[in-house]
C-alpha cells in the first residue's frame, strides 16, 4: 500500500480498513472522499471522532450509551419503569425504540452468553440486572427478554430467567418464528417448530 499512497493517506486507508464491513476498495474510496472535503468539514469529522470517546459513556442504570451519568430514557418520567426490556446490545435497544411501541425502560447486557467463545455471565451486565430488579424503585413488574432467537440468545434468556424468577417478577420473552413478509414454503424446520410453539389464539 505504501508504494501507491503518500504515508498519511496510506495510514488513513489502513485505519478505515479496520472498520466493520470496510474492505480495501471501500477504505480507499472513503479516504479519497475525505481528501476532497473542504477543510472545515474534515475538521468537524475529526472533532466528532475525538470527542465521542470522551463524552459518551455507559448509563449507570441501563448500561446503554449515554451523554451523562444516566441516559435520557432512564430519566424520562413518562416511561413505564415497572416494565423492563432486556437487550444484548445498544443497537438492539435502538431497534426496539424504532418500533415506537415499547414505553418501558431497558437494560443492556453488553453481549450474550457464548460458551463456545468463553463468554460467561460474569462478563456481562447480568448481576447489575439482578440487583436492579431486586432493589428497583418503582419495583419492576415485568422483564421482557428481547434476545435473538439464536443458541446464544436462548442460553442468555434461560440463564437470566433462572436468576430473576425467584425474585417474584414476571419474566417473558419476545415471540419468535415466522418473519413478517416471510413465506411458509421457504421457512426451515427449526423456524416452523418455534412458530408453532409460540402460536397465539385469535
Amino acid at each position: 500500500m505504501a508504494v501507491y499512497y503518500p504515508k498519511p493517506l496510506a495510514r488513513l486507508v489502513s485505519e478505515f480498513e479496520k472498520l466493520p464491513g470496510i474492505g480495501p476498495k471501500s477504505a480507499q474510496r472513503l479516504a479519497f472522499y475525505i481528501m476532497r472535503l473542504p477543510e472545515e468539514e474534515t475538521r468537524a469529522l475529526a472533532d466528532a471522532l475525538t470527542t465521542i470517546k470522551a463524552s459518551i459513556k455507559f448509563c449507570r442504570i441501563c448500561h446503554n450509551y449515554s451523554e451523562g451519568e444516566i441516559c435520557d430514557i432512564c430519566t424520562d418520567p413518562r416511561r413505564d419503569h415497572t416494565l423492563l426490556c432486556v437487550v444484548a446490545e445498544p443497537r438492539d435497544l435502538i431497534a426496539v425504540e424504532k418500533t415506537g411501541e415499547f414505553k418501558g425502560v431497558y437494560h443492556v447486557l453488553q453481549g450474550v452468553i457464548s460458551p463456545l467463545d468463553g463468554i460467561g455471565p460474569d462478563k456481562l451486565r447480568i448481576k447489575d440486572l439482578q440487583q436492579r430488579v431486586a432493589e428497583g424503585d418503582p419495583r419492576v413488574e415485568e422483564v421482557i427478554l428481547a434476545t435473538n432467537p439464536t443458541v446464544e440468545g436462548d442460553t442468555t434468556s434461560m440463564y437470566v430467567a433462572g436468576l430473576l424468577k425467584p425474585l417474584g417478577v414476571k419474566v417473558t420473552r419476545i415471540a419468535h418464528g415466522m418473519p413478517v413478509g416471510g413465506d411458509l414454503d421457504y421457512a426451515d424446520q427449526a423456524t416452523l417448530i418455534q412458530a408453532y410453539e409460540y402460536r397465539r389464539e385469535l
Binding site: 460458551p115 463456545l116 455471565p121 436462548d154 413478509g181 426451515d188 424446520q189
Partner: protein
C-alpha cells in the same frame, strides 16, 4: 465452482461482515470443514435456521477460493428440546466444542458424526443430561485411541472392582493408561490419580461397554449417585485435558451453572 452436497452438524458459528456467518461443520463424508453462509444473519434469510449451532443440516455447497460456500440448506434435525433447558443446551455446546477440538480438518469419521448426533439426541431427553456427556467422552476417548483400561488394575492386573468392590478407593491414572486398584491408587498424593469410588468405576465401565452405538441404552441405566457422576466427570475431564492439551471454553459455563445450583 464445483457444487456438491453434504450432511453436517454446525459446531461453531462466527459472525463475518455485516450479514454473513462462517460455520465450522462436521460431516461424516468430509470431516471438519469451514463454510461461509452468506446473508445468514438477515431476518428473512433461508439459511439462518439451518446454520444455527447444533443443527444437523443437508448442505448444498460450492467450492470457493478459501472457504466452501453454502448455497442450499435443508434442516434434518434441529434438536429443539435442547433449547428449552439450559443444562441440556450447555451440554450440547460442550459436545460440539469437544468434537471441534478433537479432530483435524478433512479427516472424515462417520463414527464420530454418529457419536455427536446420538449424543445430542440423548441430551434432549436423558436425565440427568450429563450422563449423555459422560458417554460421549468415554466413546470419544476410545475413538481417538486413548481408551483407558477400566476392567483391571493397570499396575497389578487385578480385575476391578472384583474383590475390592467394598473398598471404594480406585483411581484413574492417565500415565498408566487406566484404572488402579485400591492397593495402587493414591489420589490424595498423586496428581495423576483421579479418585473413583466403586459406583463411578462401574459407571465408566458401563458407559464404555455400551459402545458407539449404545446410546439408546443410556436411559435404562440404573441411576448413578451425584458422587459417582462427579468423580466420573472429573476423571474424564482430566483425561481429555491431557490428551487434547487444552480445556474446552464451554466448560467454564457448565461449571458456573453447576456452581450456581
Amino acid at each position: 465452482m464445483p457444487a456438491y452436497s453434504a450432511t453436517a452438524i454446525v459446531l461453531q458459528r462466527r459472525h463475518f461482515s455485516e450479514t454473513d456467518n462462517i460455520l465450522t461443520l462436521y460431516s461424516p463424508e468430509i470431516g471438519r470443514f469451514s463454510a461461509i453462509a452468506k446473508g445468514a444473519r438477515k431476518p428473512i434469510s433461508r439459511l439462518s435456521g439451518a446454520t444455527e449451532l447444533l443443527t444437523c443440516t443437508r448442505f448444498g455447497l460450492a467450492s470457493g477460493k478459501s472457504l466452501e460456500i453454502v448455497t442450499q440448506v435443508e434442516v434434518l434435525e434441529s434438536f429443539p428440546a435442547l433449547r428449552h433447558e439450559l443444562p441440556r443446551l450447555a451440554h450440547g455446546l460442550y459436545l460440539a466444542d469437544l468434537l471441534n477440538h478433537s479432530v483435524e480438518d478433512h479427516a472424515p469419521s462417520p463414527e464420530l458424526f454418529e457419536l455427536l448426533r446420538s449424543g445430542l439426541r440423548q441430551l434432549e431427553t436423558l436425565s440427568p443430561p450429563e450422563l449423555a456427556a459422560r458417554w460421549f467422552e468415554v466413546q470419544l476417548l476410545g475413538d481417538l485411541g486413548y481408551a483407558p483400561n477400566l476392567f483391571e488394575c493397570s499396575i497389578c492386573r487385578a480385575p476391578v472392582p472384583g474383590e475390592f468392590a467394598r473398598e471404594e478407593r480406585f483411581a484413574l491414572s492417565i500415565t498408566q493408561g487406566g484404572v488402579l486398584c485400591p492397593v495402587h491408587a493414591r489420589p490424595e498424593t498423586n496428581e495423576d490419580h483421579s479418585a473413583l469410588g466403586t459406583g463411578a468405576l462401574r459407571l465408566l465401565q458401563t458407559l464404555e461397554a455400551l459402545g458407539l452405538g449404545g446410546s439408546a441404552a443410556l436411559a435404562a441405566l440404573p441411576a448413578a449417585g451425584p458422587r459417582s457422576l462427579d468423580q466420573a466427570r472429573l476423571a474424564l475431564r482430566r483425561s481429555l485435558r491431557v490428551h487434547l492439551e487444552r480445556d474446552m471454553k464451554s466448560l467454564e459455563f457448565l461449571d458456573s451453572l453447576r456452581n450456581s445450583v
